[in-house]
């Protein structure tokens, strides 16, 4: 009797799981700027990868995916985005996955956006009024009854004009098949999780990199999903995003750091935009290692202003003559700006600066004793 009861319970559980899977509908909303002359190929591959990988999950879990909401090329535009989100009608057990691959910028002087960028879709820089903030998508999808909502954007988050995407090392292309997929772990992510995940490929001020094979963030994300499918890693959205972030940093030589907010099953987790820890300090000083190291420390925001001020005398005494001068040039590295300054005064300014992120030591000259008596600098902000 006990065995029968157990069998019935198991059957019911399986049926329930199957039923649960059957009733889970997934709504991927895909916007990819596939016809941009600079990044079109990369976005196209992002779109292919997304469709391929979600297709695997669809097959493995028996999900019902609505594939009608993919917008690429000229269709990757604001009216379509607004319409598709507005018309989206989903149930309480459904999953929404919003995915964008294209250009992005950070809204100038708009504190409301916080860490999330604006999606340029297929518009140019002068059409800024048509850019759509990710916060718009976030707030609209919040109003939908879906059980799980993922918002993933692979785009720049800087405040510059147009930045061309540089090549970065690609990840290995992982084979696509459902034969050896860890169903339980995938299910935990897509069928049993409730909440929201919002992630963007780079923190405010950074560009997002991507070779023609696709965006580094997108590749990192799917690589991590593949690991979960292979039975490795932790099958929670918090762990997935944390690993995605690590992989992205690895793929881009620490140049690109995704940021995310996970609020799933009451288990929150986020990588808020980090304070300048000095990891992003840039000092360019060809052949002047000692000098570079000294400047790196003095602009390192992880030290307090008082600590940085305290470094000035030591640096001056060890590396410079007492009358050493600093000449400044603009970003073009030629136009002389500002009056020549004593090295102590300049280092003090750097120690107090909140906006200088690094220096480019354009020229440095030494006296007969090997101490620097003049350096020419361009500040990096």
């Amino acid at each position: 009797m006990k065995k029968v009861l157990l069998l019935i319970a198991a059957f019911t559980a399986c049926s329930y799981q199957h039923l649960k899977a059957e009733t889970v509908k997934v709504y991927p909303i895909i916007f990819c700027n596939t016809e941009d002359e600079k990044i079109g190929m990369s976005c196209q591959n992002d779109q292919y990868r997304f469709v391929e990988q979600l297709g695997i999950i669809e097959t493995a879990l028996g999900l019902d995916v609505d594939w009608t909401m993919a917008f690429t090329g000229n269709e990757c535009n604001k009216p379509n985005l607004e319409k598709v989100i507005s018309n989206l009608d989903c149930g309480t057990n459904d999953v929404i996955i919003f995915y964008y691959s294209g250009h992005g910028v950070h809204a100038k002087a708009d504190a409301a956006d916080g860490w999330l960028p604006q999606m340029c879709l297929n518009y140019n820089s002068y059409d800024q009024d048509k850019f759509v903030p990710v916060t718009y998508v976030q707030s609209k999808l919040k109003g939908k009854p879906a059980r799980l909502c993922l918002i993933l954007t692979d785009c720049c988050n800087n405040e510059a004009e147009w930045v061309s995407v540089k090549s970065a090392s690609a990840s290995d292309g992982k084979p696509a098949n459902t034969g050896n997929i860890d169903i339980a772990r995938l299910k935990k992510l897509f069928c049993e999780s409730k909440g929201t995940v919002v992630a963007t490929s780079s923190k405010r001020g950074q560009v997002s990199l991507g070779p023609k094979e696709g965006g580094c963030f997108s590749m990192a994300f799917w690589d991590e999903i593949y690991r979960i499918e292979s039975g490795q890693g932790e099958a929670t959205w918090k762990a997935v995003m944390e690993q995605t972030k690590k992989l992205t940093l690895e793929y881009t030589n620490n140049k690109q750091e995704p940021v995310y907010k996970v609020d799933v099953d009451g288990i929150g987790g986020s990588a808020p935009p980090p304070v300048n820890t000095g990891n992003n300090t840039v000092v360019i000083a060809v052949g002047e290692t000692e000098l570079a190291n000294a400047f790196k420390r003095i602009v390192d925001g992880s030290y307090s202003n008082t600590q940085r001020l305290g470094m000035v005398d030591g640096i001056v005494q060890s590396l410079f003559t007492s009358d050493a001068q600093v000449l400044m040039v603009g970003r073009n590295l030629t136009t002389r700006i500002g009056l020549p300054m004593s090295i102590s005064k300049y280092l003090e300014e750097l120690a107090l600066s909140k906006t200088v992120k690094g220096v480019n030591i354009v020229k440095a000259s030494k006296n007969a004793n090997g101490k620097y008596n003049q350096i020419t600098i361009s500040e990096i902000r």
Binding site: K108, A109, A111, E159, N305, T306, G330, R331, N332, T334, T335, R336, I337, G338, L339, P340, E349, L352, S353, K354, T355, E379, R381
Partner: protein, 209 residues
């Protein structure tokens, strides 16, 4: 408006200033406009280091005073009255650079920058945030005003938030206009030109709710 600093003239004993027929190249102009924006950003970034520090530790107060000095160095005259020559060649005195703020959406009368910074330090708030809003734009290209001086203006958005006893008591957001001065100094020994950028009066253009 053209400006000149008498003190600067004394300091620049080794340099000579001469009128040059050459105008600002497009590349120099773009570089200088970028540098002016950087100065505005520096100004905004220094304000939280100064605000509401008078009731803090000695170390913080000392640091705040350093930042006040740094801030004044960004401005023409360094917060004092200054002499200048106008476009017609007249030698004139200009009152010290002023700063205009808003309170609850209303523009206050402008006050000397030195006084503004000292008052900022003395504000009785628990926390103060001055948002690091980017300079919005330079209005138009720099215009020459004679004797190696150029002048222009820019707008920037500034948000000022302050809390007391855990409550937000000030939340002002306003669009400010600032005059920008650029001085060309020619070094005959090397044939180089050095460009020095200064900020001028800051006025409220409009207040946003």
């Amino acid at each position: 408006m053209k400006t000149k600093i008498a003190i600067l003239v004394l300091m620049l004993g080794t340099f000579s200033m001469s009128l040059h027929a050459e105008r600002l190249s497009d590349e120099d102009r773009a570089t200088l406009e970028q540098h002016a924006l950087e100065k505005i950003n520096d100004f905004i970034s220094y304000l939280p280091e100064i605000a509401a520090k008078s009731n803090k530790s000695y170390e913080e107060k000392q640091l705040a005073q350093k930042y006040i000095a740094k801030t004044l160095e960004l401005f023409i005259g360094e917060g004092n009255d200054y002499e200048y020559i106008d476009a017609a060649g007249n030698r004139r005195m200009h009152p010290a650079v002023t700063m205009q703020t808003t309170s609850r959406g209303f523009a206050n009368p402008p006050q000397p920058m030195k006084r503004y910074l000292q008052r900022l330090m003395a504000l009785p708030y628990q926390t103060v945030e001055v948002d690091t809003c980017q300079a919005v734009r330079i209005h138009s290209h720099l215009r020459e005003t004679g004797d190696g001086w150029y002048v222009g203006s820019a707008s920037f958005l500034q948000v000022f938030r302050a809390t007391r006893d855990g409550r937000l008591v000030v939340n002002d957001k306003d669009l400010k206009i600032v005059t920008i001065y650029v001085k060309r100094i020619h070094i005959p020994e090397t044939g180089e030109d050095i460009w020095v950028v200064y900020l001028g009066d800051m006025r409220v253009r409009s207040s946003w709710k």
